[in-house]
């Protein structure tokens, strides 16, 4: 799997939180796993955390706890929790994704009786969802890694230069997550890159694999470029070929890679994604949070620009078909605008609710449990809103923008002869 977040970064184990009445709150986190493993992993980490709380390192006592009546009752509760996780995931990702493209980490929160280890309140959960490429959680895009593609040109390989660079650049446009670095001369490249160059051939490096790019004479006497794929020739005749080759070698599906905003430069996307992840990681205050997210999404500006483009288009002479298409676009834009207003309000309401419940808890107007239940409810709904905003952004900046620009680029109809 390329680019998914490594599981090796150790997480800080949270201390059990004593909430009085002989109860503690535990927050066990599962490892990253496939969809089918969720139920088993949730059982394992929660039961393990409870046993650890009660008996520390005493293996014998832990063993007998796993077989106890309390543990069996806990398992029933955890089964319900796992089914909630499954139904949540069904609602969140199954509509647009192949479940095999994803892995998950479940974060749980269980309130446990300190004496006998009984789970005393409904457990809560959150799920981090990882795609094959980059890290996409239920709350939005958190981080992203690139597939590194290097192209190392050989000395004197003039034939390969502009054309190869052109097709690779085209490929980069196709796959938004490819970072393409061309080196015209291996001697000018960093040492790590130089070692990947194959003999004196121009070399295409995809991830960790290097492929020589060569020239061959065809039967009709013309020369053609091909990639030496372990003895198999992969001819490059146009842009599509290189896209196919990159896709084949990286194992990345174009439809997954294209979920990010189209038409934006990689730098801008980086900034947007950083901003979104900042809000997720809670590095900014809640007040600034919704402003930053809404601003980083940039939908106000995008919708405004599209409205302006449509208005300009309407001033041109248009065929009947185009008039109908413009009207169609206008309808879609109005609907996107409405969705955006609604989601923006939803997001702000959630932020407001969060500060309110915190205030209520701090002033002892609600109990810790009430605070926690409300907070998780709000966070979950805010996470969904955030995801809808990101999807709307992709729709407006991608699909709608491309359709409107396609309309703009159509030539004006010829005037009918009188």
């Amino acid at each position: 799997m390329i680019g998914h977040e490594s599981d090796s970064v150790p997480r800080k184990k949270p201390e059990p939180l004593d909430v009085g009445l002989n109860r503690v709150v535990l927050e066990p986190v599962t490892k990253i796993m496939r969809f089918e493993g969720i139920q088993w992993e949730v059982q394992k980490v929660v039961t393990g955390a409870i046993a650890g709380l009660l008996f520390g390192d005493n293996k014998e006592q832990k063993k007998s706890f796993y077989k106890s009546a309390v543990s069996r009752r806990n398992k029933e509760t955890l089964l319900q929790l796992a089914s909630q996780v499954y139904s949540y995931l069904d609602g969140t990702i199954s509509e647009f994704a192949d479940i095999d493209d994803y892995v998950f980490r479940v974060l749980t929160r269980v309130t446990v009786n300190k004496t006998d280890g009984r789970i005393v309140a409904d457990p809560l959960f959150d799920v981090e969802i990882y795609k094959h490429f980059g890290k996409v959680s239920a709350k939005g895009v958190e981080s992203k890694e690139y597939l590194n593609v290097l192209f190392i040109g050989g000395i004197g390989d003039q034939f390969i230069g502009p054309r190869m660079v052109k097709v690779l650049n085209k490929a980069v446009q196709e796959f938004k997550f490819i970072k393409f670095v061309p080196y015209k001369d291996p001697r000018a490249a960093p040492a790590t890159v130089r070692t990947q160059a194959i003999n004196n051939s121009p070399t295409l490096v995809i991830g960790d694999n290097a492929f020589a790019v060569k020239l061959k004479a065809a039967e009709d006497g013309t020369n053609f470029i091909y990639i030496d794929d372990g003895g198999n020739d992969f001819p490059i005749t146009d842009e599509k070929d290189i896209v196919v080759f990159l896709s084949k070698k990286s194992g990345l599906k174009p439809d997954i890679l294209r979920t990010a905003t189209a038409f934006d430069s990689v730098e801008r996307m980086d900034r947007e994604i950083r901003d979104i992840s900042k809000t997720i990681m809670g590095n900014v205050s809640e007040g600034a949070m919704e402003v930053e997210l809404i601003e980083s999404i940039g939908l106000d500006e995008a919708i405004g620009n599209l409205e302006q483009s449509l208005n300009l288009l309407k001033k041109r002479r248009l065929s009947d078909n185009m008039v109908a298409e413009v009207k169609d676009m206008e309808r879609e834009l109005v609907s996107a605008k409405k969705d955006y207003s609604r989601l923006r309000v939803d997001y702000e309401v959630a932020s407001n609710e969060l500060s309110n419940i915190e205030e209520k808890w701090k002033s002892n107007q609600i109990t810790f449990e009430q605070y926690e239940v409300e907070r998780w409810k709000i966070l979950r709904s805010q996470g969904l809103t955030r995801e809808k905003l990101v999807n709307l952004q992709a729709n407006v900046k991608g699909v709608l923008t491309s359709r409107i620009y396609a309309l703009i680029s159509k030539p004006e109809p010829m005037e009918k002869a009188k």
Partner: protein
């Protein structure tokens, strides 16, 4: 939760809008100002209701769930009314302006009105700019 806006401040802004309605000659702009006044009234009602619900909750007259539910609806009403002013009134009034300079001045208020802290001051400035731009002497 403090909204950074009080009922008294909204009243002050409504007074300003009332005066502007009487002074502006453009029918469309006047209609937009009336729409703004109606939305300010919505915000005012939401704030008063919020105070009321809060009070009832503190006295124990409503359950916690009920309180959270009602509060959420009122907060939503408040933000929807505010957003209608910045999403509808500001662009529609801006469109009526004759010069690009005035248009530039007016559209800036869309950003300023988003911030609750600046809402009242920006609202008053907006109304004053509208009056200045749409009065025919």
């Amino acid at each position: 939760m403090d909204f950074e806006i009080t009922v008294e401040e909204i009243d002050k802004l409504v007074n300003q809008v009332n005066q502007a309605i009487g002074e502006v000659n453009d029918v469309v702009v006047r209609r937009e100002l009336e729409f703004m006044k109606a939305r300010l009234a919505d915000m005012r009602v939401a704030l008063l209701e919020l105070e009321n619900v809060e009070d009832k909750y503190l006295r124990g007259d409503v359950t916690t769930d009920n309180y959270f539910d009602r509060r959420k609806k009122l907060v939503r009403d408040f933000f929807i009314a505010r957003d209608q002013i910045l999403d509808t009134v500001v662009p529609n009034v801006t469109e009526r302006a004759s010069s690009s300079e005035v248009k530039g001045q007016l559209i800036k208020f869309k950003e300023l009105l988003k911030d609750n802290k600046k809402f009242i001051d920006a609202g008053i400035d907006f109304v004053l700019t509208v009056v200045k731009s749409f009065i025919v002497h």
